[in-house]
C-alpha cells in the first residue's frame, strides 16, 4: 500500500477501507448512518448481525422473542452454552456491537459526516413479539431505511410484510431449509411481489375421524398424542380435538344414525347428561358423562395442578400414578372397546387391540431414566405407560413452582417432558392399532416438532446475500437522495435469489431472477377482495372473527363492517363490550342486514394499514361421504369453509408436489379430500413443518428440493419462499436408521 492521503490522519479502519475500495465512499457513508431493523436473531439473524457489524452498520435494532436453546448452538454462533435461557436478541446484539469498527474520520476523501455517522454505534435489542402493536407498529417501522427478516415462521413474516408495505420500507426477506435457501426484496414503491402474493402451503391436515378413530400411520398417532397433550396440559380442555362433551357426542351419534332429522340444532341445554342420551355403542363406556375418558382427564388435570391454583399442595406421586393408570385405561382400553362396539372397524383390515396398563407398569422405572438409554431406543407398551406416568408425576411436582417452565401450555418439541409424553402416548396408540414402525423419541421429535433441518452453511450464504441486497437498496436510496432519480426502482438492481443444492441446467448454484410483479389478486398488497364460502346460518361472528379474519387473513385489530354498519371493532380506544352481543350472533343475524349469501363485508385493520372486502357465499352441504369411510360428524361439516379469489388457491405446481410428497395419504383408508378437516394445529411457533415418517434415513432434506429444482428448470414464475418453518417445504421424510 502506498502512502495515501489518510496516512496523515488517523487511518480508516482496515475493514472500512476495503468496503470503501469496493463500494465507493458515498455508499460507505450511507452504510455508516442508515438505520436498520432486524427481525429475528436466530440462525440467519446471528450471521446477519455479524455481517452488519463488520460491514460498518452502526444503527441496528433487533427484535426477537426467543431465548437461547441448546439446539441453537450448532449454528447460532454468537451464543455459547452458558447463554442458554437468555434472550437471543440481547446476547446477539451485544456480541455484534463489539465488532463494529470505529467510523472513519473526516478526510478529504470522505464526505462530511452527519450526526448519525459519528454518534456512538447502537445495536439495540428488543426482547419482544413483533405482534406487539404498541411497540412495533407502522410509525416504528418508518424510522428505518431497510428491514431484514430472519424469521422462521409464516405468521411473523406476514406481520412484518404488512408493516413494511404500510410503512413503505424495503424488506429483505430470507429463508432456509437444509441446503436450500432464498432471498428476495419486497418494496411497495417498486411494485414487487409481496410475501403474501404466493400461497403458502398450509399444514397437512388430517380428517378428524382419522385422528380420533382410524389412524393408519405413525404420524396420525403423533397428532393424536399432541392433542392428548393439549387435553392434559393445555389451558382449556375445549381446545383439544379429543375434548368430548355431550354436544359433540350427540352430534357424532346423529351423524351415524339414520337421519335424526333436524335435531342438530340443540338448544342450550346440551350440557346436561342423561343416561338415555347414550346410544347402543356407548354402553360399554361405563359411567360418567358419556365420554369414556373425560372424567379421568379432568381429575388428572386437577391432581397435577393444571386446573387448580398454583399454590395448592402437590399431589402424592402414588395418587398421580394411580389416576394416570385410570386415564390410560380409559383412553387405550375402554374407549377402544367403545369404538369397536360402534362398528367403526367393521370394514377395517385390522381391529384395534385394547391395552390395559398393569399396576406394575405405572410404577416401573421409565425408559428415559434407565441406564444406557439413548433417544433412538424403541419403547414397549409398558415402557410407554411408565414414561407417561413419570411425566405426570414430574408435572405434579413442579406445580408448586410459581412459574413452572415445564410443561408449557402449548406443545413444544424442545420441552423434554412434552416430547417424552407425546412419544409414549403416540406409541401406545400405535401398539393398539398395530401401526408400524414404533417411533423412537428422536424420530417422534422429528415428526411432532415439524423440525426443519438447519445448518450453519446455508445460513451463512443466505445472510451474506441479504446484506449484499442491502447494498443495492442503499445505493438506490442514495441515488434518490442525491436527486439522481425517483424511488421505486429496486427491480432494476435487486434480485430474487435461490440457493440451490444442485446446479441448474445453466450451471448456476445461485439463481438470481428479477423481482416478480405482485399477484393482482393479492389482498395484502393489491387490496383485492376475498371470496368466502361458509355456512352463514351456522357460523357466528365470533367464529368468523377468530378463524377467518384473524387466523386465515392475519388481521390484528380488525374493524368489520356490513354496509355502513360497524358490527365489530377492536383496538386500544375501543370499548370491547360494545360489540360483544354481536359475537354470538349467526352471520345472517348481524346488524346491517346480516352477512348472508351474496353480501360483502369490509374489514379494516388500522395497525397494518390493511383493508379488504370479503364477499360471502352460503353453502350448507360439503361432505360427500365416500362409502365405507367413517362418517364425519356434523360439527365438522358446519365448521368447514373455503377461501378463494384473493387468498391464492393452490396452484397446479403445488398439486404435483403434493402428489409426489403426500401421495402418501399412503395406505390410509381415509383420504376423502372433501372430508378433510383442519386439525387445529395452532402451534405456530418455531420450525413448523409437516413431516412424515420415512423409510430410509434422514436423507431427504426437504422435498421442496424437487420443487425448487423444477422451478428453475422450467423457469416457472411461481415460487414459494422456503421458510424455516418449512411452509415451503411441505414435507420431509425422516427417520434415522443409524443409531445416534
Amino acid at each position: 500500500m502506498t502512502v495515501d492521503a489518510e496516512s496523515t490522519y488517523p487511518p480508516c479502519p482496515p475493514i472500512l477501507r476495503g468496503m470503501r475500495a469496493a463500494l465507493g465512499p458515498a455508499l460507505l457513508a450511507e452504510i455508516l448512518h442508515s438505520r436498520i431493523l432486524l427481525i429475528g436473531s436466530g440462525g440467519i439473524g446471528c450471521e446477519l448481525l455479524k455481517n452488519l457489524a463488520l460491514s460498518g452498520f452502526r444503527h441496528v435494532e433487533v427484535v426477537d422473542l426467543d431465548t437461547i436453546d441448546v439446539s441453537n448452538l450448532n449454528r447460532q454462533f454468537l451464543f455459547r452454552s452458558h447463554h442458554v435461557g437468555m434472550p437471543k436478541c440481547v446476547v446477539a446484539s451485544e456480541a455484534a456491537l463489539r465488532m463494529v469498527p470505529p467510523p472513519p474520520p473526516t478526510t478529504p476523501t470522505t464526505p462530511i459526516q452527519d450526526d448519525a455517522t459519528t454518534a456512538k454505534a447502537t445495536y439495540m435489542p428488543h426482547h419482544g413479539n413483533v405482534f406487539d402493536n404498541a411497540r412495533f407498529n407502522v410509525p416504528y417501522f418508518q424510522k428505518f431505511a431497510i428491514v431484514l427478516n430472519a424469521l422462521d415462521n409464516v405468521a411473523a413474516r406476514r406481520r412484518v410484510n404488512r408493516l413494511c408495505l404500510a410503512a413503505n420500507v424495503p424488506l429483505i426477506e430470507a429463508g432456509t431449509a437444509g441446503y436450500l435457501g432464498q432471498v428476495t426484496v419486497i418494496d411497495r414503491p417498486s411494485n414487487t411481489e409481496c410475501y403474501e402474493c404466493q400461497p403458502k402451503p398450509t399444514q397437512k391436515v388430517y380428517p378428524i375421524c382419522t385422528i380420533r378413530s382410524t389412524p393408519s400411520q405413525p404420524v396420525h398417532c403423533i397428532v393424536w398424542a399432541k392433542e392428548l397433550y393439549k387435553l392434559c396440559f393445555g389451558p382449556k380442555v375445549e381446545d383439544s380435538m379429543l375434548y368430548e362433551d355431550e354436544e359433540s357426542l350427540r352430534a357424532e351419534r346423529d351423524g351415524q344414525g339414520d337421519g335424526d332429522g333436524d335435531e342438530k340444532k340443540n338448544d342450550d341445554g346440551g350440557r346436561t347428561t342423561t343416561r338415555s342420551d347414550m346410544s347402543k355403542g356407548e354402553e360399554e363406556a361405563g359411567g360418567g358423562g358419556g365420554s369414556t375418558y373425560m372424567d379421568a382427564i379432568r381429575d388428572l388435570r386437577s391432581l397435577i395442578g393444571v386446573d387448580s391454583s398454583p399454590y395448592s399442595s402437590p399431589s402424592q406421586p402414588s395418587a398421580v400414578r394411580s389416576k394416570a393408570r385410570e386415564a390410560l385405561t380409559a383412553l387405550f382400553s375402554t374407549e377402544i372397546v367403545k369404538q369397536i362396539g360402534m362398528d367403526r372397524y367393521k370394514t377395517a383390515d385390522r381391529v384395534p387391540v385394547p391395552i390395559s396398563p398393569g399396576v406394575d407398569w405405572v410404577d416401573a422405572i421409565p425408559p428415559t431414566t434407565r441406564e444406557g438409554y439413548t433417544p433412538t431406543d424403541v419403547w414397549s407398551p409398558a415402557d410407554c405407560v411408565s414414561e407417561i406416568a413419570s411425566c405426570l408425576v414430574e408435572v405434579a411436582e413442579n406445580a408448586l413452582t410459581p412459574d413452572p417452565t415445564s410443561p408449557l401450555p402449548e406443545f413444544d418439541k424442545d420441552d423434554d417432558v412434552a416430547m417424552r409424553f407425546v412419544t409414549a402416548a403416540s406409541n401406545l396408540r400405535s401398539y393398539v392399532f398395530g401401526i408400524e414402525p414404533i417411533q423412537s423419541l428422536y424420530d417422534a421429535k422429528g415428526m411432532a416438532g415439524n423440525i426443519i433441518p438447519a445448518i450453519a452453511t446455508t445460513n451463512a450464504i443466505v445472510a451474506g446475500l441479504q446484506v449484499l441486497q442491502m447494498f443495492h437498496v442503499l445505493r438506490a436510496q442514495l441515488d434518490v437522495k442525491s436527486g439522481g432519480g425517483e424511488g421505486g426502482k429496486l427491480k432494476e438492481c435487486c434480485r430474487y435469489i435461490y440457493c440451490l443444492r444442485d446446479k441448474t441446467r445453466k450451471g448456476y448454484l445461485l439463481q438470481p431472477t428479477s423481482l416478480p410483479d405482485p399477484n393482482p389478486d393479492c389482498f395484502v398488497c393489491r387490496n383485492a377482495s376475498v371470496s368466502l364460502v361458509l355456512n352463514t346460518h351456522e357460523w357466528t361472528l365470533d367464529m368468523f372473527l377468530r378463524r377467518i379474519i384473524k387466523k386465515e387473513l392475519g388481521f390484528a385489530e380488525p374493524t368489520i363492517m356490513i354496509g355502513e354498519d360497524i358490527v365489530y371493532e377492536e383496538g386500544e380506544d375501543i370499548d370491547p363490550s360494545e360489540y360483544v352481543a354481536n359475537l354470538a350472533k349467526k352471520m345472517t343475524n348481524l346488524p346491517g342486514g346480516g352477512a348472508g349469501h351474496g353480501s360483502v363485508l369490509r374489514i379494516e385493520d388500522f395497525t397494518q394499514d390493511l383493508e379488504v372486502e370479503v364477499s360471502v357465499s352460503h353453502r350448507d352441504r360439503w361432505i360427500i361421504d365416500d362409502e365405507g369411510e367413517a362418517k364425519v360428524d356434523d360439527r365438522e361439516e358446519i365448521e368447514k369453509f373455503e377461501i378463494g379469489g384473493k387468498k391464492p388457491t393452490v396452484s397446479k405446481e403445488n398439486d404435483s408436489v403434493d402428489a409426489k410428497s403426500n401421495g402418501n395419504v399412503a395406505n390410509s383408508a381415509a383420504s376423502s379430500n372433501e372430508g378433510e378437516a383442519r386439525t387445529e394445529d395452532t402451534n405456530d411457533s418455531d420450525d413448523e413443518i409437516e413431516l412424515i415418517e420415512g423409510d430410509d434415513g434422514p436423507k431427504l432434506d426437504g422435498i421442496d428440493d424437487s420443487r425448487m429444482y423444477a422451478d428453475s428448470k422450467e423457469e416457472s414464475k411461481k415460487r414459494t419462499l422456503v421458510d424455516q418453518s418449512g411452509n415451503g417445504t411441505k414435507k420431509a421424510k425422516m427417520t434415522v436408521d443409524d443409531s445416534v
Binding site: 487511518p11 451463512a460 449484499l468 443444492r501 432434506d701
Partner: protein
C-alpha cells in the same frame, strides 16, 4: 438426549454416519483470511473433529487497531484488513471479551484477551474458533512463511504423529525455525482422525502450487477459497484417484419398482398371482384401494397379451413386421406408451373415486423406466477393474517403510479401496442379474388398504435383502480371489460391514465419482509464462500424472458453458469475472503484490492495462479466445478494460460479506467431501457479488 441436542437439526440432514465422519476429520486451514476463518467457522459449529490453523508470523496487532498506523512500504501481508475478519479482531476487545469471566473455558486455552504476549494470527483465530464449539480440538501452527513451508512433510508428520500437540506456545514464536504450536483442546481425548481436509485461504500461487502438489501426492482433498473485492471462488481439488460418492442423493429419485423386468422377481409375482383381476372385482372399495403397482402390473399383462395377439395376427398375415422394443415386455415407442396409458384409462371406472387408478396413470412411466444401470453409473464401473484393485490393495513397500523419497504416485486411500471392492462386487452382481442393480427395497406411498400395501412392501423388502446378501457374497468372493493372488501379502482392505453394504445397495443406481485435475496442472495451462508457475514446473518431481485428457475434456465443457451467459447482463457472467480475478493472481506472480496499490489515476490505469493483458493471455492459453461471449465482452477492449479497472479498484480488499458467502459455500462443499454425501462441485464455484450470481465451471 441432552448430549445430542446441539446437533439435532443437522443430524436430520446428514444422519449419524455423516456426523461421525465430521467428528473423525481434521481440517487444516492454510492462512487466516476472513474467508478462510468463515469457512472453518461453519465446520467448527457442526462439530468437525479437530482443526489445525496454519499461518505465518504476521502480527495482527499491526493491523487491527486504529491507534497504530500500518507500516509503510509494500504490504508484507496478504491480508491487509484482518479486522474484516470476525476471528482476527483488533486485539483489545475480543468479540466475546465482555463476559469472559463467567465463560467456563479451559483456562489454559490461549485467547486474544487473556494472554499478555501478542499471539500469532494462527493462535488467535484458533482460540476464537474453538470457543464456538467445545467439542472441537484446536491446534495451531505458526510458520515463518507460508511460501517456504514444506507441506509434504507437514502432511507426513500429521499422518504419522497426528496434529502438533505439545510444545510451549509463546516461547518459540520468535525463533526462526518453524512452529509455535499448541493445542487448545479442553482436555478431552482427541477423537480418532481418519480423514484430513485441507483449506487454502486466499493464497497466491507461490503457496498454492506447492500445496496443491503436496495434497495431490498425499491424496488429500483440497479446497481453495478466495474472496477478493466483490468476487470470490471456491475450487475443489479432489483427492487421487477420485472422490467416491455412494450417497449422491439426486434431487429426483425414481421409485425402484422393477415393473419393466420380465419376469418379475418372485415376491412380486406372488403378490400378483394372489390378487384378483381388478376388472372382475365388484366391490368398489376393493377396487379403489388396490395399490397402483398392482393396477399397472395388471395393465401390463393386458398390454402384453394384446401385443401377442397383434403379433400373431401379423404373423398370420405373413407380412414382415419386426416386434419393436422392450422385447415385447414393456412399451417402448410413443405409440406403445399411449396404448398402455389407454389400457389404464379403460380399466378406470370412476376417476373421481378411484384415486389409485389416477395414480397408476400418473406413474405409468415407471412401467417403461428400465431400472437397469445408467450410463453415468456405467462410467463409474468402468473405472474399476480387479487387476488394478489388487495392485492397490496390496500393502506397498512405501507404506511399510514410511519413506516418501521413493515416491511414485499417490497411494489409493483405503476408503476408495473400500468403494472399489463394492463396485467390483456390483459388477459381478450385474452380470448375473441381466444388468439390474440390487433392489432398493422401499416403495413410495400410495393409496391402498393396509393389507395389500404391507404385502407389497414386504415383497420388495425381502427381495432387497436377498440382493444385499448376494452383493455381500460377491464382495467376499472378490476379496478371497485377491487374497489368493496376493502371495500372502496383507491386503489394505477388508469386508465392509452389513450397514455399508446396505447403504451401497440402496444407492447403487446413483453411484458417482468426482475427479478433478490438480490445481498445479490447471495453472500450468493457464499461465505458463508466469515466473512462479515456470519455476514450479521446473521443480516437478515427476510421476504426477498426465492430465491432458481431462484438460481437453475441460475445455470442451467450458466452451459449452460459455454458450449460456448471464440472462440479463452477459457482462455479469461469473466466468468473465473469474478470468479477471485470475489475472490479478497473474499480476501478483510478476510483481509480488496485487494491482491497485496506488492512488494516482495514471498508475492505476497502468495496473489495469497490465491486468487486462493478463486476461487476454489467459483466455488465449485456455483456448477460449474464439468463444462468443469472450470475444464480445472480454476481448472487446472497452468492456474488458472496465472489468480490469473494477478489479484493480478493489485493491485486494476483503469484504466481510463476500467472505461470508464464499465461506458458506466452501464449507458446504467441505461437508460433502467429508461425509461422502452429495456430489461436490466440479470443480470451481465462482461467486460474483456485483450481480449476486454464481456459476460452476471446470477451468
Amino acid at each position: 438426549m441432552a448430549t445430542n441436542d446441539k446437533y439435532d437439526r443437522q443430524l436430520r440432514l446428514w444422519g449419524a454416519s455423516g456426523q461421525r465422519a465430521l467428528g473423525n476429520t481434521l481440517v487444516l486451514l492454510i492462512g487466516t483470511s476472513a474467508c478462510g476463518t468463515e469457512t472453518l467457522k461453519n465446520l467448527v459449529l457442526p462439530g468437525v473433529g479437530s482443526i489445525l490453523v496454519v499461518d505465518d508470523d504476521d502480527d495482527p496487532a499491526r493491523w487491527g487497531t486504529s491507534a497504530s498506523p500500518p507500516p509503510p512500504g509494500p504490504s508484507p501481508s496478504r491480508f491487509p484488513s484482518p479486522s474484516s475478519n470476525f476471528f482476527l479482531p483488533p486485539p483489545p476487545p475480543s468479540p466475546f471479551g465482555g463476559d469472559r469471566d463467567d465463560v467456563d473455558v479451559d483456562a489454559s486455552r490461549p485467547t486474544a484477551s487473556t494472554t499478555t504476549t501478542p499471539n500469532s494470527n494462527a493462535a488467535t483465530a484458533c482460540a476464537l474458533l474453538t470457543e464456538l464449539n467445545p467439542d472441537v480440538v484446536g491446534h495451531h501452527l505458526s510458520v515463518p512463511s507460508l511460501e517456504g513451508c514444506d507441506y509434504d512433510s507437514l502432511f507426513a508428520n500429521l499422518a504419522r504423529d497426528g496434529p502438533p500437540m505439545s510444545s510451549s506456545s509463546s516461547s518459540s514464536s520468535s525463533s526462526s525455525s518453524s512452529s509455535s504450536s499448541s493445542s487448545s483442546s479442553s482436555g478431552t481425548s482427541a477423537p480418532p482422525i481418519r480423514k484430513v481436509l485441507v483449506i487454502s485461504a486466499d493464497q497466491p500461487s507461490t503457496v498454492l502450487l506447492p500445496l496443491s502438489r503436496a495434497c495431490h501426492a498425499r491424496s488429500l482433498p483440497l479446497i481453495v477459497v478466495r474472496s477478493y473485492g466483490l468476487l470470490g471462488y471456491v475450487r475443489i481439488q479432489a483427492p487421487m484417484p477420485y472422490h467416491p460418492v455412494i450417497e449422491s442423493r439426486p434431487s429426483h429419485r425414481l421409485p425402484d419398482l422393477r415393473l419393466s423386468r420380465h419376469p418379475a422377481f418372485d415376491g412380486l409375482r406372488d403378490v400378483m398371482s394372489s390378487s384378483t383381476d381388478l376388472e372382475c372385482v365388484v366391490d368398489t372399495r376393493d377396487r379403489s384401494h388396490a395399490p397402483f403397482v398392482i393396477v399397472l402390473l395388471q395393465a401390463l399383462e393386458r398390454w402384453r397379451g394384446k401385443k401377442r395377439d397383434d403379433d400373431d395376427g401379423v404373423a398370420d398375415d405373413g407380412s414382415s413386421t419386426v416386434v419393436v422394443g422392450g422385447r415385447g415386455h414393456h412399451p417402448v415407442t410413443i405409440a406403445e406408451k399411449d396404448e398402455f396409458r389407454s389400457i389404464v384409462r379403460d380399466m378406470t371406472r370412476d376417476s373421481s373415486r378411484e384415486v389409485n387408478f389416477v395414480e397408476a396413470l400418473r406413474e405409468a412411466h415407471l412401467v417403461w423406466t428400465d431400472g437397469r444401470i445408467s450410463d453415468e453409473v456405467r462410467d463409474v464401473l468402468d473405472r474399476v477393474d480387479e487387476e488394478s484393485f489388487l495392485r492397490a490393495a496390496m500393502k506397498s513397500d512405501m507404506d511399510v517403510e514410511g519413506g516418501s523419497s521413493s515416491y511414485v504416485g499417490p497411494e489409493i486411500p483405503s476408503h476408495v479401496l473400500h468403494f472399489q471392492l463394492l463396485v467390483l462386487a456390483l459388477k459381478r452382481f450385474l452380470v448375473a442379474n441381466d444388468d439390474y442393480p440390487p433392489l432398493e427395497g422401499t416403495i413410495p406411498d400410495m393409496t391402498s388398504d393396509t393389507a395389500r400395501y404391507v404385502a407389497l412392501q414386504e415383497a420388495y423388502r425381502r427381495q432387497a435383502e436377498r440382493d444385499r446378501s448376494a452383493i455381500d457374497e460377491c464382495a467376499r468372493f472378490v476379496l478371497a480371489e485377491c487374497e489368493r493372488r496376493s502371495d500372502g501379502c496383507e491386503l489394505r482392505v477388508g469386508m465392509p460391514t452389513d450397514d455399508e453394504v446396505r447403504t451401497f445397495c440402496k444407492n447403487s443406481r446413483y453411484l458417482r465419482i468426482l475427479e478433478t485435475r490438480p490445481l498445479f496442472a490447471e495453472y500450468a495451462l493457464q499461465d505458463p509464462a508466469s515466473p512462479v508457475v515456470a519455476s514450479f514446473a521446473s521443480s516437478a518431481v515427476g510421476g504426477e500424472g498426465n492430465f491432458d485428457a481431462i484438460q481437453s475434456d475441460v475445455r470442451d465443457d467450458l466452451l459449452v458453458t460459455t454458450m449460456e451467459p448471464h440472462e440479463t447482463d452477459p457482462m455479469q457472467t461469473p466466468m468473465l469475472w473469474w478470468i479477471a480475478l485470475r489475472a490479478c493472481d497473474a499480476f501478483y506472480d510478476r510483481h509480488g503484490h496485487y494491482p491497485g496499490k496506488h492512488d494516482q489515476d495514471l498508475a492505476l490505469e497502468a495496473d489495469a492495462n497490465e491486468v487486462y493483458g493478463c486476461m487476454v493471455r489467459i483466455v488465449g492459453s485456455m483456448g477460449l479466445d474464439e468463444s462468443d461471449i469472450i470475444v464480445k465482452y472480454l476481448l472487446d477492449r472497452t468492456k474488458g478494460m472496465d472489468m480490469a479497472r473494477e478489479v484493480v479498484r478493489y485493491d485486494e480488499a476483503e469484504i466481510h460479506n463476500i467472505a461470508a458467502v464464499v465461506g458458506g459455500v466452501a464449507s458446504q462443499e467441505a461437508v460433502k467431501l467429508i461425509t461422502g454425501q452429495y456430489v461436490p462441485v466440479n470443480d470451481t464455484y465462482v461467486y460474483n457479488g456485483i450481480a449476486s450470481t454464481a456459476g460452476v465451471y471446470r477451468f
